[in-house]
Amino acid sequence: MNFAEIGLNVLVALSQLILFLLLAPLVTGWVRKVKAFMQNRSGPGVWQPYFDLVKLLRKEVVVSQTTSWIFTFTPYLVFTVMLAIGLLIPFYTSLVPLGFIGDAIAVIYLLALARFFTALAGLDAASAFGGLGSSREMSLAAIIEPAMMLAIFTVAVRAGSTSLSTIVQHSGAWDLLAPPHLLASIGFFIIVIAETGRIPVDNPATHLELTMIHEAMILEYSGRYLALIEWASSMKLLLFLTLLANIFLPGGIATQLTFGSIAISLGIFLLKVLVLATLVALVECSAAKLRLFRVPDLLAASFVLSLLALVLYFLLGGAGHAIL
């Protein structure tokens, strides 16, 4: 590897980091805008999340006396983990410079690390709300994780690798028409909804104790801690939409580092994320929030879809994609 290549890789990594960091609040703003449109409201502008973040960063932090260092440490950790994941997944090029550090499984477990500490922080303030949120979040995560692993397995089996960039390189634009891939994609879409805390699983806009899950955990946070956590949630949404876009709706991603291909790929990527974000917003508007104990059924559906996808893959002799 010569200096030019190293320089190019550093450039890609940096641009990916900055894009991930700056684009994330916009996606959240866009989802909110679409929701408002669907509900016949004008709603805040798409830039509102940025203003919120700036305001929160400036505000004073109020911390409970009961809390320990876990409470202070968690926002920093969660944000750091999300940024690190941003360097491990392919956005607009399938060549991830730091992809050697972690594969799809590492990404899933890094997300679990962030969740683990958020749940601990929920218990740290000794408020019943925090405990309630932590308990619900960890319980649902327990069912989300196997479904997610199975969905990843479906694509990993075909690529023969759990490395995200290899998976992306192995998928073609018309994969979605292959039955195993289609089933796994639907399964993963359900996971995206659940993991990012959207209706019908969780409602990011509520603070009603009957229904809230994620919001209850972070109820004690304020000021810059809250800003970090909100920003990290935005990044998580973008992260899952990206995974969905690049792994399950592949096509158009640059496999070489040339200026032209990257420009086209970036355009396609942004378009895909926009469409998927709209889809998430539409689901949010057209579904009612499920009762907490109905959520496992939904996630079980996702699990079964992915399992079916794997079985189909073997039944079609590993050539599920050749039947077209």
């Binding site: 109020v62 944000f79 590492a106 679990a112 601990l120 960890m138 089996v157 004690e220 104990f293």
Partner: protein, 689 residues
């Protein structure tokens, strides 16, 4: 020479540790120091010896002079003649694990056993401790089935004595009884196993066993498999043979629990690997591995599900041992399937990878589980309760213990960048490769096994959020929990050593995996470390194209990004931080009674998996005046372990009933017995006439 010397030295030091404390039996402090310093020295010596062997020192044999001498004196005990110990790569690996834990646990014990001064015989505890470690070392190095059975029994009995060490508690006597019964059921099957071997080999020597593996009929091989599975499965705590484990591990003093959970149950894994990969490797049948894989997967989920419902800190950890033994055996089971297809180099590599995954998880589990047990011991020694519903807020009063326990909790939840993650990642990779196995049933079992492994990982995280969050965070839920103090320096040192080990095993797997690779290379004949390793940074399963991770780089990446996070957070200027009390929904003061409880925390999981748990609820309502004026409500929730209720209870009833029948013959009267003897004699005389 050197490795032999250190090995012999370590045995002698353990023996000394079992003898010298008697000299100072009237001075508990001194006798405890003698016992635990000697065992720490022995552990270091064992560590050197096993490392030398794993790094290339040739394997060696040590004969046991006492027993050989006995064979000379009493010619009829010819069986004792060839008794010897042997240190090959597999034994060295297990000696390494035992010694690696023996050192920090001995240091921890220096402080920990002070709690027993004046209450119990510290001398006895020290002697039993040394004998226990010694017996485990002997189990994994015995080179003769008879010697193996003798030291296996020694290990069982010493650990039984340690389980009932605090015998004044009635529940400990019960725990000891269950343990004693189960462990002897296991030993009985092991005796059957070795008898089958003896029948073919004509000798108890392990060398002879290796030579006769091809002589067994299919039927006999099936019996060998079943006997080994039940015999070792009982000790390992494989579902459904796990029932003794949640009783026995919590009953023992905490440093002993750490040893039992950390290494004793691993001697069963040693047995499984020794029998299937050493003695029977050319004769492996594919469905054996499948059975092990299925049982292991069930153990994984079963263990963690019951751990979630447990509020006794040590019992919770004991159930997690069932889970982790399952994860280890998922690797071993896959390896057994892979190794049963002889001649296919790809599948042999898969077997090697799966074995490495299993054995690496074994080391990791030993490290974080003993750390957690030592942490639990520190908490219990201060708060005098094992019930996490009575703890809370300990992180402020015991910051070191809390930090160490947290490291253990993160590691056991398989979160990066600690060690549990690396071995679970390897297991996932082995499972993914397992999809390439030729049998359809295996192909369908493997993804389900992977999904259930992910489920157990997530449930373990939930369980440790509960265990750490409820006991260390929030407000103290009882008087005791509010008055704890940080534990002594030796205890912190022991825990710190293990916490460091968890981190090192997590970020530097490439240093440790070549050591394990020597074991798999000696067993399977394929060394795959060169395929897995690229640099100190990166490693991959078998082939670079399959995926790779770099735990060290991941850790560094997190450390590098942290300043960026701090910088971004600092955009709004200097930090203004105000402390107030937690918002109490308008009430003036929050009390610990309003905090979330462990029972409440695990309620959603209890609801989601209620078909498995089948919880029994009893609600008693006392009313006054009318049914709407309630005076008192009593709520009782109970979850009964299924296997005990539906399998072991009927079984023990059956056994009691059968014994009841035989009781009629056994009247206890000597006259009747004399008649029996007479009748038997007459019959024999008639028959042999």
């Amino acid at each position: 020479m050197t490795a032999q010397f250190y090995f012999g030295l370590s045995l002698v030091l353990y023996l000394a540790g079992a003898v010298f404390p008697i000299i100072w039996r009237s001075q508990p402090r001194r006798s405890s120091y003698a016992a635990h310093l000697l065992s720490a020295a022995a552990a270091v010596s064992g560590l050197i010896s096993s490392l030398l062997v794993l790094l290339g020192h040739p394997e060696f044999k040590v004969s046991v002079p006492v027993l050989s001498a006995l064979a000379d004196i009493v010619p009829s005990v010819k069986l004792f003649a060839g008794l010897s110990l042997k240190m090959d790569a597999l034994s060295a690996f297990f000696v390494l694990v035992i010694s690696l834990l023996g050192l920090p646990i001995s240091i921890y014990s220096l402080g920990y056993v002070r709690e027993y001064e004046g209450k119990k015989s510290v001398t006895l505890l020290g002697i039993l401790y040394n004998l226990f470690v010694l017996s485990m070392i002997l189990v994994v190095t015995a080179d003769n089935a008879l010697l193996f059975l003798i030291v296996w029994e020694l290990m069982s009995i010493v650990s039984y004595l340690l389980v009932i060490f605090e015998h004044d508690r009635p529940e400990n006597a019960h725990a000891g009884f269950v343990y004693l019964v189960m462990t002897h059921v296991g030993t009985a099957f092991l005796i059957l196993l070795f008898m089958l071997f003896l029948h073919q080999a004509g000798s108890f020597d392990f060398d002879a066993f290796r030579k006769v593996s091809g002589n067994f009929s299919d039927m006999a091989k099936t019996f060998l498999f079943v006997f080994a599975l039940i015999g070792f499965g009982t000790k390992a705590g494989l579902v459904p043979l796990h029932i003794w484990l949640p009783y026995a591990h919590p009953a023992a003093p905490s440093h002993i629990s750490a040893l039992m959970s950390g290494v004793m149950i691993k001697t069963a894994i040693y047995g499984i690997v020794r029998v299937f990969f050493d003695f029977l490797q050319p004769e492996l049948v594919w469905w054996w591995g499948l059975v092990v894989l299925v049982l292991a997967t069930i153990s994984t989920v079963w263990g963690v599900l019951y751990a979630l419902m447990e509020h006794d800190l040590k019992k919770l950890l004991a159930y997690h041992s069932v889970e982790n033994i399952g994860i280890i055996l998922i690797g071993i089971g896959l390896a057994m399937i892979g190794a049963s297809y002889k001649g296919d180099p790809n599948l042999t590599s898969l077997a090697a990878l799966a074995t490495i995954a299993g054995l690496y998880h074994l080391v990791n589990h030993a490290a974080f589980k003993s750390l957690l047990f030592l942490g639990a011991g520190a908490v219990i020694s201060q708060a005098h309760t094992r019930n996490i519903e009575e703890l809370g807020g300990l992180i402020k009063l015991m910051p070191w213990t809390a930090a160490f326990f947290l490291i253990g909790a993160v590691a056991i939840s398989a979160l990066p960048p600690l060690n549990g993650f690396v071995s679970e990642w390897l297991t996932f990779q082995a499972l993914l490769l397992g999809l390439g196995l030729p049998d359809v049933i295996v192909k369908l079992t493997v993804p389900i096994s992977a999904a259930l492994l992910a489920l157990s990982g997530a449930l373990a995280a939930a369980c440790f959020v509960k265990a750490f969050g409820i006991s260390f965070l929030g407000m103290p839920r009882s008087e005791h929990a509010g008055h704890v103090r940080e534990v002594s320096q030796t205890m912190r040192g022991g825990m710190g050593f293990l916490a460091l080990l968890c981190i090192l095993l997590g970020v530097l797997p490439m240093v440790f995996i070549p050591l394990i690779d020597r074991v798999t290379a000696s067993l399977l004949g394929t060394s795959i470390a060169s395929q897995m390793q690229f640099s100190l940074l990166m490693f991959a399963p078998l082939d670079h194209s399959l995926a790779n991770i770099s735990p060290l780089a991941l850790g560094l990446l997190l450390l590098l990004i942290l300043p960026i996070t701090l910088r971004l957070a600092h955009m709004g200027g200097a930090l203004h931080r105000r402390q107030t009390q937690t918002w109490g929904c308008g009430l003036p003061l929050l009390s610990p009674r309003m905090e979330y409880t462990a029972t409440g925390f695990s309620k959603p999981i209890r609801m989601i998996f209620q078909n498995i748990y089948q919880p029994r609820k009893e609600i008693e309502v006392e009313t006054d005046v009318s049914q709407y004026v309630r005076k008192r409500i009593r709520y009782k929730l109970q979850i009964e372990p299924h296997f005990e209720k539906y399998f072991y209870e009927p079984l023990s009833h059956f056994i009691l009933k059968v014994s009841g029948v035989f009781l009629r013959i056994q009247s206890g009267s000597v006259n009747i017995y004399l008649i029996y003897i007479l009748v038997t004699l007459l019959i024999l005389l008639l028959l042999v006439r």
